[in-house]
């Protein structure tokens, strides 16, 4: 665990850069983490991020299949929003823990 300054805020992050406490998250932090992986966030991105955060708060484990059925976007759309890391990058940007699912 380490403390990192993201978008002017001091947050706890894991070795791989995931936020340790999802309550330390804010949209500015999301934008900065996103730019580190080369993604510029749009409203659609935030819809996905909020969905991921809601589900995590409810204690659900996440899969790309679930996001694909959320009505926000399909799986192809999810890959377009978060290339090369539909669950990995989206989780990181959403400030939630690294996904523990294999699907």
């Amino acid at each position: 665990m380490a403390i990192k300054t993201i978008a002017g805020a001091q947050v706890n992050v894991s070795e791989e850069g995931y936020l340790e406490d999802m309550n330390e998250w804010n949209p500015e932090i999301a934008k900065e983490i996103a730019s580190e992986v080369g993604i510029e966030l749009t409203d659609k991105h935030f819809e996905v991020l909020n969905y991921l955060r809601d589900k995590t708060e409810e204690g659900e484990s996440l899969t790309i299949r679930k996001v694909g059925k959320s009505g926000i976007t399909d799986i192809k759309g999810l890959y377009t929003l978060f290339p090369k890391g539909p669950l990995k990058f989206s989780s990181k940007i959403a400030g939630i823990p690294k996904p523990a699912s294999c699907v």
Partner: protein, 167 residues
């Protein structure tokens, strides 16, 4: 000279040659997992593995209830081979396994293939096996890109950070 530099995997080429439920799913999980990690992914279905991409069979794959020492009853008691041979047992057990996988959000085979191609993964069928089983492209799921030779497949496996996986 540094030996600590990480060299992440860039491409996987996965071969599925067996048609049981667990063999096909092992292939699909590994392929989808690679695509989700941003790894270029090619999947090559051959011999009985073709069942996993054949429209008529893909949604009804079985797991062997005889000759399978790892097969257990609910509760962990070994599954008697004699019982496994009774009519309908294999179908019933396979159906149960599919429903357990669904609970873990593992999709049916056709949807799984769509997930893989949605992320840019490529699905191929082996020409020799397709000819042997007298199949045609129209018998295969729409997500199958093409029917290719083993030479073509090896051609797809170039690059020094590529691994070939035989499930």
């Amino acid at each position: 000279m540094s030996s600590t530099e990480k060299k992440p995997l860039e491409k996987v080429c996965i071969i599925c040659a067996k048609g049981s439920l667990e063999d096909v799913y092992a292939t699909l999980v590994m392929a989808n997992g690679a695509v989700m990690e941003g790894i270029e992914t090619n999947v090559f279905f051959t011999f009985f593995g073709l069942d996993g991409i054949t429209k008529e069979r893909m949604l009804n794959l079985h797991t062997a209830t005889t000759g399978n020492p790892a097969m257990r009853m609910p509760g962990g008691i070994p599954f008697p081979t004699m019982l496994g041979g009774l009519p309908g047992v294999e179908a019933g057990v396979s159906k149960m396994m599919r429903s357990q996988m669904e609970e873990l959000d593992m999709p049916p085979v056709d949807e799984f293939l769509e997930m893989i191609t949605a992320g840019g993964g490529m699905i191929y069928a082996c020409k020799l096996a397709v000819d042997m089983f007298k199949l045609e492209q129209k018998d295969l799921h729409d997500e199958v890109d093409s029917i290719i030779t083993i030479g073509d497949f090896y051609g797809l496996c170039d690059g020094d950070r590529t691994q070939i996986i035989f499930t």
